[in-house]
Amino acid sequence: MNKVENNKAWFLVLPMLLLVAFSAIIPLMTVVNYSVQDILGSSAYFVGTEWFKDILNDSQLQQALIRQFIFSFTILAIEVPLGIGVALMMPKKGWRASLILILVTLPLLVPWNVVGTIWLIFTRTDIGLAGVGLRELGYAYNITRNDGDAWVTIVLMDVWHWTPLVALLCYSGLQAIPQAYYQAARIDRASRWAIFRYIQLPKLSNVLVIGVLLRFMHSFMIYAEPFVLTGGGPGSSTTFLSQTLTTMAIGQQDLGPSAAFSIIYFLIILAVCYCFYVAILNMGRDKNTSQPR
């Protein structure tokens, strides 16, 4: 769309800007302020980049960061293909489509701590369906003792919780493909795979970028679900960044280090998401030039 140059548009943006500034800039400045000071009671000393050096050299935090990256990439590697597959299988219209749409959306509407609760109840070895089932099958399943079990359960929980998002995104992408494309493919006797590869996948790329962006963001901030399910354990095998930070800031009241940690944490997310954002922008430009809306 050709936009009109008009700086009065700022007036339309202003209310939003003030509100978001109140809830974003002021707190962020507080964090920056803490990160360069050592605060003991009422007195504070300027310490420069001391906390940042500490945080970057803290092996515990480095491990949490590595765990976080492994987790985020694992769930992306599972959820994206699975979501595409589910979207391809969902019926296109009729009451069945509406019903399945609502059922698939269900996990997204569950409060995040309740997601943890659901999986806690589901996987408990004394009362949970999956827990008891696995025991009956002869596998000594235990998420409070076994690192591997806890890890797999958390990944499974996230797949349960968020694959629907990817599936719905792809579903809406598929809905937007004109029937004529499929007809042309039929005439050319294209195989099922060729239809997917050359018609569906290119149309899905737009929504997939949004999906990967949202999934990466949210998985990188994951807190309530593992906190309720495993409490970060056994040991610290499922302690991710948000939980490490929350323990530091609220539990131990280490204002300076946790502020420095916050900033580093935020910057990592920002850097990765900026790449996605640029990708989205470029996509929009291609779209504008090829087909005027």
Binding site: M1, E5, N6, A9, W10, L12, V13, P15, L17, L19, V20, S23, A24, I26, L28, T30, V31, Y34, L82, V86, M89, I100, L101, I102, L103, L106, L109, V110, P111, W112, N113, T117, I118, I121, F122, I127, L129, A130, L168, L169, Y171, P178, Q179, A180, Q183, N206, V207, F220, M221, Y223, A224, L241, S242, T246, A249, I250, S262, F266, I269, R293
Partner: protein
């Protein structure tokens, strides 16, 4: 777009459809089978939660059963009659609705500006907005606590509603901008030629045109405010405590009250199910942020 193609080639469409129906029926059944498996995977944990809420605690702990043997509503009755329980739901709903109202009101004009005008710093502003969507709530925990405490808003619904604006306003702007860009600019121009002023055009003509987009946006605002707990729990103590925080009370000295916990969990899913029903036809497009 689809409809016009459909019209011109309707005969070929039916032909292709017939071929599709006759030919790979095995494939269709395979698809249904896998989709069914996925749906079972999605619904099984939820089923387990719901079924547990209808069991008594002795039944839960004494033996393993797939279905509740003696259907009991005790846990639901306890939650719905005890104010310290059901006020949790009221509190949650109050701050969620407040947040939805604030977010949509400020996001509508902002999204219009982004979709129609170029102005100094628009791209940077938009990215800055999105960065707030990316901000981990854990980062803002401590500053929020201190900020709202110092302005005297701690433990009020408005505090949580404002805090949730951090990610909900950017989200609303993003989704609405997508839907608004789908409305041809000629609509605006025609309205101005017809003598509409901007506010009148916006309220009378434009908003009705994107009402499905607004519906979907409201649904998303509801969803993200409803599921968030970390900020809501930190900014409240007693008067505005969300249900998610109250649920931890089921951990008593004598262990966890499983039945009560399951009932409380089930009740947190219900509002979402009711809301999703209304937007079911637009939800797919909404999830693509209005950009398909």
């Amino acid at each position: 777009m689809t409809t016009s193609n459909h019209y011109s080639t309707s005969q070929t469409t039916t032909f292709v459809k017939r071929k599709l129906r006759n030919n790979p029926s095995a494939q269709r059944w395979r698809q249904r089978f896998f989709l069914g498996l996925f749906l079972i995977f999605l619904l099984l944990p939820i089923y387990w939660l719901v079924s547990m809420s209808f069991k008594t605690n002795t039944e839960i702990l004494s033996g393993f059963s797939l279905f509740p043997k003696s259907l009991t509503f005790d846990s639901y009755i306890e939650i719905l009659t005890d104010p310290s329980w059901y006020m949790g739901y009221v509190n949650s709903l109050l701050y969620v609705v407040t947040n939805m109202l604030i977010s949509i009101l400020v996001a509508l004009p902002a999204a219009y500006a982004f979709s129609r005008y170029r102005f100094i710093g628009d791209k940077h502003l938009f990215f800055w907005l999105l960065t707030n969507l990316m901000a981990p709530p854990a980062v803002f925990l401590l500053p929020y606590f201190q900020l709202y405490y110092s302005v005297g808003l701690f433990d009020t619904h408005i505090a949580v509603a404002l805090a949730h604006c951090l990610f909900n306003i950017p989200l609303a702007v993003w989704i609405l901008e997508g839907f608004m860009s789908g409305v041809p600019k000629e609509v605006d121009e025609t309205a101005y030629i017809d003598g509409y002023s901007f506010p009148r055009f916006f309220v009378r003509v434009f908003i009705p045109m994107i009402r499905s987009g607004i519906g979907v946006t409201l649904f998303f605002l509801f969803m993200f405010s409803w599921v968030e707990l970390l900020l809501a729990r930190t900014l409240t103590a007693t008067d505005a405590q969300p249900i998610g925080a109250i649920m931890t009370r089921t951990r008593g000295a004598s262990g966890i009250d499983w039945s009560l916990l399951a009932a409380a969990g089930t009740l947190t899913i219900l509002p979402g199910v009711m809301v999703v029903y209304f937007v079911r036809n637009y939800i797919a497009k909404g999830f693509a942020l209005g950009r398909t």
